[in-house]
Amino acid sequence: MSTRRWLAIAEWRIINNESWMERIISVQVENKAGVLARVAGLFSARGYNIESLSVAPTLDPTVSMITIVTQGDDRLIEQIIKQLNKVIEVLKVVDLTESNFLDRETALIKIHTRPEHRDEAIRIADIFRAKIVDSSPTTYTIEVTGDVDKVEALINLLKPLGIKEIVRTGRVAIAREAAKIPTRREAQAAKA
């Protein structure tokens, strides 16, 4: 589906549907060739959008973890999760949005540094506990890790200095142990 059409549908759903929200789904799969294609194909074939996706091995080398960030209402997400479960090589699917979780992403941001901007860049990086991991006479590359808000805030502050290139890992997430903080759904419900 074209992005525009997707957006139109997404917008309509957001306006008309209270349960429409961002979801983070973690999917444990067999660490085998072709599994990622099946999982991703399942999204594209049904017009579900993937906002970010990351894949990496787990403690068990035969198992990989795919973390998918998507959007949907309860019905759509129920269907996505059922469809994921149906894939033979999928071992476990968890909608982290239903629990308390931590999510992180790492970004590498390459900025132009005119001499008069170099101090400013270091200061901004410091505030965000980001590191300068590479430098050249005209650029710095800054590494930052955090939740999406933090990464985006840093990017926004760096924009005026001139961003040359950004790469982001996409988000990974993990359930918190025994936290008393409300889940996002509860928070959303409380707001409404």
């Binding site: 059922k82 479960n85 033979i88």
Partner: protein
């Protein structure tokens, strides 16, 4: 062919093709099998492992191409993995919700050697279909069934696949619930049973669709609420609670909300349900009494709006041919259809009582399915009568298989409903596109009798109503494969019909007056003239 074999037997059909074009040729069949949950294992050839990805001769990305239309697929890179992979392929294809599995075997793997070790057991940690339903849910369902005044059983393909005919019959009889079936569910309940309502949906009976619309409880058994069945979703079964039994959780609540979802195998769940129903207090005659008004209402609908056609003595009606074929074979053959009007008439007039005796392409609606599938069914049951009900459009998509019939001496009886049109398309053009017969006239079709003879089959033809029965009689008597060519009314339409997007009670029951009065022959001729002028090709006079 493999699909016909699998649909007739429930065992996995096997496909073996070469790499590249061999594999791309089976894509339609895989997609068809995937939609209709047909167990297949397809073995495809692949170029040698060291050449994969090199644009080698007759290379295709078999795994990539087949991924969206298979339940599972695997590339075998090591001959040591072959035995295990094949075992798993058959296991996956035939268990849970059945479906096609593709095993891609590179040239070097197929010629390599290994010690043969066929595993006893399959161990797939990510695959574990649920067969037994949740007992609490089943009990809830039993309570609802007991209470309902206007219940309907809606049985689908899952009822056929799980061989649950006797359980459904028991459920219907102890709970006194009328049964309607999807196109794929036909045969799961006897067509002649007093509680049988036949098919529902777009071309289902008036009474079964009306029963759906007024039901207060819908018991969906192995059916997936396809749009051909539900019509307009917002107006679907507006008064009914829904019990939904399905082995595939993705089928449940996909299109229609289920009040009581039960994930499990139809047979296992119904066995349990029947135990609960029998154990409940209240007796059979009370239930019969409670349901009497509902049964009477359905009978009334049936009486006032039966299936009908008017057979005069000049032009043969297609329904007449199909009706006569079924009557003369006592509804006992294995019926295989193609796709179109003839398929719908076959479904409407079919009253068979055994599962797996109505074989058709439902989900994908693949024209050309009929003949090869009939051959597959015949191969599985060489001594049974296999009828292939088809029409010129569909038939010509795979008619080369007549050679297979002749070579393997498969005595399939082909019933060709010859109406000079892609009838189903013409019907839509008449009803919704002002009779613009764009590309729906078939024009130069071959002489089917000669064609049959050319392949070594017996060819028969009937152009008048009086010839229909003698031709059927002669065709059935013949021991080898036969093609019977029935020339029928080209303008007959299939009713009832729920127009796309309509609700169950919004059926068209006959040609609207403007269509009845239109000179469609002239329209068709005019279209021919246009074609000549456009240089597109010509209809014979």
């Amino acid at each position: 062919m493999a699909e016909g074999y699998a649909k007739a037997t429930g065992r996995a059909g096997v496909v073996l093709v070469t790499s590249g074009p061999g594999m791309t040729n089976i894509v339609t069949g895989l997609a068809d099998a995937y939609m209709d949950s047909v167990p297949l294992v397809a073995f495809t050839g692949q170029v040698s492992t060291n050449l994969i990805g090199n644009d080698a001769f007759q290379e295709a990305d078999n795994i990539g191409i087949s991924r969206p239309c298979t339940k599972h697929n695997v590339l075998v890179k090591d001959v040591g993995e072959l035995a295990r992979t094949i075992k798993e392929a058959f296991y996956i294809a035939t268990t849970g919700r059945p479906g096609p599995v593709l095993v891609d075997i590179p040239k070097d793997v197929s010629t390599d050697k290994a010690d043969f070790k066929y595993p006893e057991k399959v161990n797939l940690r990510g695959y574990n279909p649920t067969y037994e339903g949740n007992k609490y849910q089943i009990k809830q369902a039993a309570e609802e069934i007991k209470k309902a005044r206007r219940p309907v059983i809606y049985a689908g393909g899952g009822a056929v696949f799980s061989d649950a005919a006797s359980e459904i019959r028991e459920l219907a009889e102890i709970a006194q619930v009328p049964v309607t079936m999807t196109l794929m569910g036909l045969g799961s309940f006897p067509g002649t049973h007093a509680l049988c309502m036949g098919m529902l949906g777009m071309h289902g009976g008036y009474w079964s669709n009306m029963a759906m619309h007024h039901a207060d409880l819908l018991i969906a058994i192995g059916a997936r609420f396809d749009d051909r069945v539900t019509g307009k979703l917002s107006d679907f079964c507006p008064e009914a609670k829904v019990v939904h039994v399905d082995i595939d959780p993705t089928s449940i609540k996909k299109n229609v909300h289920a009040h009581i979802p039960i994930v499990g195998d139809v047979k296992a769940v119904l066995k349990q349900l029947n135990v609960y129903l029998r154990a409940m207090d209240g007796n059979q005659s009370d239930l019969k009494e409670l349901r009497r008004p509902w049964r009477e209402q359905i009978e009334e609908w049936k009486r006032t709006h039966p299936l009908r056609y008017e057979q005069g003595d000049k032009v043969t009606k297609p329904q007449f041919v199909i009706d006569r074929v079924f009557e003369m074979t006592h509804h006992e053959g294995i019926v295989v259809t193609d796709v179109g009007q003839h398929q719908m008439w076959a479904a409407q007039y079919y009253k068979g009582s055994k599962p797996r005796t109505f074989i058709t392409s439902g989900g994908l609606g693949t024209m050309g399915f009929g003949l090869p599938a009939a051959l597959g069914a015949q191969k599985a049951y060489p001594d049974k009568l296999v009828l292939c009900i088809t029409s010129e459009g569909s038939f010509q998509m795979n008619l080369q298989e007549l050679a297979t019939a002749a070579i393997y001496k498969l005595p399939v009886k082909v019933v060709l409903i010859h109406n000079n049109f892609h009838g189903m398309v013409r019907q839509w053009q008449d009803l919704f596109y002002e009779g613009r017969y764009a590309s729906s006239q078939l024009g130069n079709v071959p002489d089917f009798v000669k064609l049959a003879e050319a392949y070594g089959l017996l060819g028969l033809s009937a152009s008048k109503p009086a010839e229909v029965e003698p031709v059927i009689r002669e065709g059935l008597k013949h021991r080898g494969p036969v093609l019977m060519d029935f020339h029928v009314d080209p303008f007959e339409n299939c009713y009832p019909m729920i127009p796309a997007g309509g609700a169950h009670h919004e059926m068209l029951l006959e040609d609207p007056p403007e269509l009845r009065n239109a000179d469609r022959g002239a329209l068709a001729k005019k279209k021919d003239k246009d074609k000549v002028e456009e240089g597109e090709g010509v209809l014979p006079a």
